[in-house]
Symmetry: C2
Subunit: 578 residues, 2 copies
Amino acid sequence: MIDPIRRYVPILDWGRTYSKRALSNDLIAAVIVTIMLIPQSLAYALLAGLPPEAGIYASIVPIMLYAIFGTSRALAVGPVAVVSLLTATAIGQVAEQGTAGYAVAALTLAFLSGGFLLLMGVLRLGFLANFLSHPVIAGFITASGILIATSQLKHILGISAGGHTLPEMLGSLLEHLPGINWTTVLIGVAATGFLFWTRKHLKPLLKRLGTPALLADVLTKAGPVAAVVATTLAVWGFGLADQGVKVVGTVPQSLPPLTLPGFSPDLLGALLVPAILISIIGFVESVSVAQTLAAKKRQRIDPDQELIGLGAANLGAAFTGGYPVTGGFSRSVVNYDAGAETPAAGAFTALGLAFAAVALTPLVYYLPNATLAATIIVAVLSLVDLSILKKTWGYSRADFIAVAATILLTLGLGVEIGVASGVGISVLLHLYKTSRPHVAEVGLVPGTQHFRNIRRHSVETDPSMVTLRVDESLYFVNARFLEDLVQKRVIDGCAIRNVVLMFSAVNEVDFSALESLEAINHRLKDMGVGLHLSEVKGPVMDRLKRSHFIEDLNGCVFLSQFEAWESLAAAPLPNAAE
Amino acid sequence: MIDPIRRYVPILDWGRTYSKRALSNDLIAAVIVTIMLIPQSLAYALLAGLPPEAGIYASIVPIMLYAIFGTSRALAVGPVAVVSLLTATAIGQVAEQGTAGYAVAALTLAFLSGGFLLLMGVLRLGFLANFLSHPVIAGFITASGILIATSQLKHILGISAGGHTLPEMLGSLLEHLPGINWTTVLIGVAATGFLFWTRKHLKPLLKRLGTPALLADVLTKAGPVAAVVATTLAVWGFGLADQGVKVVGTVPQSLPPLTLPGFSPDLLGALLVPAILISIIGFVESVSVAQTLAAKKRQRIDPDQELIGLGAANLGAAFTGGYPVTGGFSRSVVNYDAGAETPAAGAFTALGLAFAAVALTPLVYYLPNATLAATIIVAVLSLVDLSILKKTWGYSRADFIAVAATILLTLGLGVEIGVASGVGISVLLHLYKTSRPHVAEVGLVPGTQHFRNIRRHSVETDPSMVTLRVDESLYFVNARFLEDLVQKRVIDGCAIRNVVLMFSAVNEVDFSALESLEAINHRLKDMGVGLHLSEVKGPVMDRLKRSHFIEDLNGCVFLSQFEAWESLAAAPLPNAAE
């Protein structure tokens, strides 16, 4: 048992044993991640509809707080694509983009999200994130990738357009298409093409040229930086900003400012549900990444403490000019691959970005938005994976329906409705599946003590008894199904004197199912038929004993099905002729 | 296989063999039920806020249509208490009581409800009603009984009051208390007392006096009729209507009129959700009664065809001046006890009520509302059963929470929110329970081939292998739980070379769980640990084979756990010193 302070502040744990070697590894990783994060932070702020510095600020204090409270050694926290899109959708409903209210709404969203994550962490409710099934997450991420890429086309085309759903976005793009700026298109297409090329072909090329592996890796990761530098220089050198190419413009040269989220009840009320959604999606993404990376080193993360780490990070973002953050996939993988050993790597990255915020921001004045859009498009298209449709189709129709519905609803009705419907549909499909459980009528395999499905095996049966093996826990959704099934079976077979329910796969009997069992018992008693149970599990039996069911049972509870067979099959048959 | 017409029109089935004996039994039952239904129909119309004749009309055509399309031989369809309360709540939100719009809203509600039931029946969606768990239904019925009884106090006190929740109702009663009419109170209290007395004590008394059982039964059931006759005569004889005693007044002397529900999209939209709720609750109540009565005679009902029968009945109500109806508990039990053999008894009851509508309505002019309120109070208080709280507390905390929340929310926030929350809470609690399944680490019982929980039994284990028996189906809600559990167990035990998952109680592996199993497999492979499965059920194995999981498995699938033990426990231990 670790003491409560060390449990909630993991830095006290790993900080004690921090070595010189870990320091140098962390520093190297920090440099690589910082280079990658500068353009990414600017780009995601653009995606969220916020000024570029918000993206950098959101990468400084949050990452430091996560280093103190988080449990993953490699997770890099900051703005990510999907959360940026969700932020834009949520705050677009309460404020106009570009206004002061919009930025305050972003801070408020981060504040609510941080508070909610912290609360979940303290209450140890991390398991709630499990209600998002893998297919729903996969479908949601894929659809979000498509939405994000589409939302960036306006920057590539140099037009203004809006919309939160695919039809809205495409309609708005078509409407504004006449205002297309061909210089912007040239820059955007060149940057996109270059980034796709570096991502796919640069590393193999460098390797063939004999570049050392680590250097090849760094150069590939620096692709966005190269695109940023080249297009910024081009805009500056050829005066393209005068030809209508939109650029990032003035970014304040400053450390993260102290900011306050809005506390008006209207604003808090309007953003609460989106904040919860963002928290859960951000948490799921972050935990998946952290767990995958931890497993590679036989380390563990604590999902409940992760909630606290991410909650602190979001609160940090709310008070230092940021917006909602979470553990990002690409940056965390880069951090891990670059050799980060402890959360200190994140803290060093934060220092690097703080330096950039103070010293480098004047350099991005001429950086075209089209380049940032290109980096986003290339990054998010790697999230789009329609193969999940094929995989789930092959494996299970219910999962396929959940994925397909999530993708279609996210694209057609927006991210919030999409993911909420996905969760609802998964739950309903699960309830539907368990509402008609597999129940096999079983008989004795001759010469053994085993019982098998009479439809699949050649087994011995007795016309006076019917044994039903229930392959599902019994609870309210399927309780009545069993009632119907037993009644149908007994009415169809007039010779039946005894019914045995074989409970080997019944892991729970809830109160509704108990009442159904009581109803079955009474009905069978009225018909002069005995009801027996066999192979009831310990915890289920313990619970049944708390009710009067076992006392009132018009029959026995047998430890094994074979005992039931031996006692009952030998019973004299009142209608032996049948 | 019966042909489609006979499947959808069960009267063609039982009608063929209708005998003289059944006819005389059905006629006797019809007379008894008719006598009981006259005051009950008037009373429930009062509860729904509708003119008294609506209750009678709702008992004529609907019961005939049910006789044609329904499958229960004893079910009596008509207005019932809970559905009347739901009707009052729903249409009170779209129209003022006493206006023409209010009556049209009631017809529209019956129309939507009928359409929805019919649609569910044709799509064979009867299982959806199972999402209402027994505790939620019990809690809802109890809370509704309290709400209904409270709503009738205003008639007993002779004041006007409103409200849809318990606090609203009590507040409104207190507010209007100064207007109390003592003559009304006298009638109301006397009628209530008399009805409670007949219900509890009349039958034993008559038996002691040597009255034949059937006659004693009929006399007891006729209690409400006696109260109606006595109080009507009192009001008429002493001119109490002039002293402020509210009476039923003029009821049109007519057969059910032809009416049309409203078809405005606004009205349909506003009533759709309440109509669905009423349909489902009415269906659940009706099916429970029908199933209980059918079982006593080893008969069966078809829940999907019941949807069609109830749907037709509600459509009938919509076009003949009624309001939503369903199969009532008390009237059905009376019908059954009185010897009804076929749905024809219902049709004869309808004829009796049609006669009453034409010939007897002038007689109820002086019938005081207080008497009707008394019959409702006495009827619904028998529905109030708080013992469900004690029973569920003893059996399962989750079920207790569902009941308690349903009762409190129904009383505090109204019937619609109450029942919707009850369903939501049951589903969430079920998901919560299955989200942390029981997983036992098992070992070999010495000298046998059986494996038992190492914490409960003295068993043999091997430090190089760990066997986890998963006592729950694996699906998205608990998939990550298993990931965490396996990872924790393996990291804690450095000597572990093999992990066996024993799947004897796993009835399903959905796509999320498959991905978690794949993740577990990859992580264990990274750690140099094997992953094996044992005792996988046929349907689960069939499904797993559709994926690449079995091919990629870093281990084997064993038919029995003992095989797994024999193959793996003998493996050389790399760290035998541990």
